[in-house]
Symmetry: C2
Subunit: 365 residues, 2 copies
Amino acid sequence: MANLRDVARRAEVDPSTVSRVLRDDPSQQVRPETRERILTAARELNYRPNALARGLRTRRTDTIGLIIPSLDNLGFSDVTHGIQAAAAAAGKLVMVVDAGAVDGSAPEWAEVLDGAVDGGEPGASPASAAATKGDVYERLIGDGRLDGLIVAFAALDDRHVAQLAERGIPLVLVNRRTTGVHGSVVVDDVRGSAVAVEHLVRLGHRRIGLIGLAADTDTARRREAGYRQAMTAADLAIDERWVEAGPPTVEGGRAALYRLLAASRSARPTGIVVASLMSAVGVLSALRDSGRHVPDDISIVAFNDHPFADHTAPPLTTVRMPNLRMGQEAVRMLLHALDGVPVGDLVVPDAPELVARESTAPPRD
Amino acid sequence: MANLRDVARRAEVDPSTVSRVLRDDPSQQVRPETRERILTAARELNYRPNALARGLRTRRTDTIGLIIPSLDNLGFSDVTHGIQAAAAAAGKLVMVVDAGAVDGSAPEWAEVLDGAVDGGEPGASPASAAATKGDVYERLIGDGRLDGLIVAFAALDDRHVAQLAERGIPLVLVNRRTTGVHGSVVVDDVRGSAVAVEHLVRLGHRRIGLIGLAADTDTARRREAGYRQAMTAADLAIDERWVEAGPPTVEGGRAALYRLLAASRSARPTGIVVASLMSAVGVLSALRDSGRHVPDDISIVAFNDHPFADHTAPPLTTVRMPNLRMGQEAVRMLLHALDGVPVGDLVVPDAPELVARESTAPPRD
DNA sequence: TCCTAGGGTACTCCTATCTTT
DNA sequence: TAAAGATAGGAGTACCCTAGG
C-alpha cells in the first residue's frame, strides 16, 4: 500500500504538500501544475490515506458507535435503518455492537423490543478474556476509535450509561432517557398510547386494557401514562385488573394476556392496547389458543408498525411511531455534539399514526 | 485522557515497560513489584491504550467489516447474529455497512468521499458523479481500519468483490461465491430445496413450482438446481410455467406469484417452494387476496426459518438453514485468514431442517 | 558469560504549524 | 506574497540495548 511519502516522491514534492492537496486545504496555495502532478501520482499509486494515522493526528475518526440490544428485532429495524442512512449521508461509518450477541445471550429475536431488559452477567463465559460485556464496551469507547456513540433502547443499564457519559464521549440515547445524561431522542409515547386508546374509543369501546412494558424504564412509564391520561380524557374508568405488563417478547405477551384474563373473569375488557409489537403477536396467538376471536371478541392495537403486521392473523392494527426519523435525529444530534454544540433532549415531533388493520372492530356487546 | 507516558511517569518506569506489562508481553520479564506499580498507576489514571496508535504500529485493528444488503431482512438475522456473536467472542469489533442504507444516501455522500483522492476529473464538476457504492467500500477497506471483511449475500456485485480481493484484504463471502475469490461459506442450498420438494412430495403433491431468487447469483442458481434435481429424483415433471423468480421482498413475492398464476392458467401447481422467507410472506398475502386458500388450494414452503413464521396466516412451513452457524464459520474463517492461513470454500455441513407448520397439506385433488 | 529487569530508539502515517525561497 | 519545504508531534509497539549480579 502506497503512503504519503510514496506519492510525494513520485510527484517530486514534500509530503506535507501532498497532504495539503489531497485534503483540499484552503489555507495554502498550490500551483495548479503541482497539484496536477500530485493528483496523478496519487491515482497511479492507488493511494488511500490511512485512517488510523489521520485519526491519530486529527482526533477524529469519522466513525460513530451504535449499541443496540439486538439487531434482529422487528421493532428496531426502522431505527437502525435511520441511523445507518443518516450516518452514510454524513460520511460517517458505523460500528455496531449487538449487545445480545456480546452478552452471549440466546439469539432469541424477540428478547428485547423497546423496553429494558438488563441482562445478567455472563458468569459462565470463560471463553476469551475480551468477551465480557463491560470489557467490550469499555474498549470500544475508551479506545479513541469512535467520535461518538448512540445507545439505543435499553442496550446498557444506567450504570454503564453513566460511565460513558463521565468519559466525556459525545453520547446520544435513543428512546431511552437517564437522569443527568444529556442528549436523547424519544418519540411521543404518551401521544402514541392516546392514539391507540382514541381509536378504540371511536369504535365504541369503553372497557379498554393495557399490556405495558414490564421494565422500569422511561418508555414504559410514558406509554402507561399516555394510556391513563387518554382514558381519563375520554371519561372512561380504568379497572386495574385490565392493566398488565410483561417483557416485550412473544412469550411475554402471551403470559401477560393470560394473567389479564385470569384477573378479570367478571369484567373483561373489549379492547387492549399492547405496548410492544412482539407482545402483540404473542397476545394474538394466546387469544387464538384460548378460543377467542380477534377482533370480534376482543380488539388489539399494538405499538410500533412493521410490514409484517400486514401478515399476522389477523393483520394487526398498530400505532406507527416515527422510528426512522428518531434514528436520523439521533445521528443529527450526535454530529452536533461532535461539533461542540450542546445537545438537549428531543421528542421527535412527528405524530404517531394509527395504521388500521383487522385486529380492531366495534365491540360486539 | 491519560496516555502511556502518563502511566510511565506515575509508575516511574519507561513507557516501553508499561507497554510490555499491559500487553502481557511474555518475551520479557518484569518484577512483580514493578508490574504492580504499573497496573496500579494505569488503574488510577483510568488508562486505555489508544486503538489508533496501536493499530498504526501493529497493523491490526481487531476490527472486521460486514457488508450486508439490508439489516432488516428476517432471512439474514441469524447470519448477522452469528457473526456478531463469534466476533465478540474473539474480541473483535464489527463495522457494519448496510448496503441498502448507503445506496439510498443523499448526494452529500459523494462530496465527502471524493474530498480525499478519488476525485474524478480535476476540471469537471466536484466529482459527485463518482459517488458510487464502490467508493464507500473502497474507503472503508482501503483505509487500514479493518483487518478483514465479510461480504454477506449479494451486497456487492462481482466486480466490486473482485476489486476488494485484488487489494489483498482478507475476505470471506457469506452465502455467495465468486470465481477466483477464495474464502466463502455457504449453506447447502441444493439440499435445502430438496428438503422442501421432498416434503411436498411426501404429502402427495406432484405439480410443484418454484419461486426463486431473481438475482443472477450462485445462491439463486443452487436453489433452483436443488429444486430441479429433487423433482427429477422424484420422477416429477417440471412445467416451466411453474418456475418464477423475484427479488427477496414481500412485493417481489407477490409479483412473482401473480406472474406464475397468469402463466399457468391451464395447469396450476398444487405446491410451491419459495426461495426466500420475505417472498413467501408476499406469496401468502397474494394468494389470500386472490381468493385462494393455503394450504387447501395450494401449499407453500419457504426457505429460511424465523420465529415470525409461527405467526403468519397461516403459519409458514419452512426449511431452516444453518444460518447462525454460517455466520460463525465466516468469522472463524476470516480469523484464520488474518493469521495467514489460506482459507477455502466451506459448505456448512449442518443439514437443512424442515419446520412443518400449517402452510402445507396434502393436495385436494 | 549469561540472565534479569528494564531503558532507549525508531518506526507506523498523517497533519498542523513554522520557516524558507 | 505565493509556493513549497521542514519539523514536530499524535500514542503506541517492535526491536535492540545495557547495567548489574
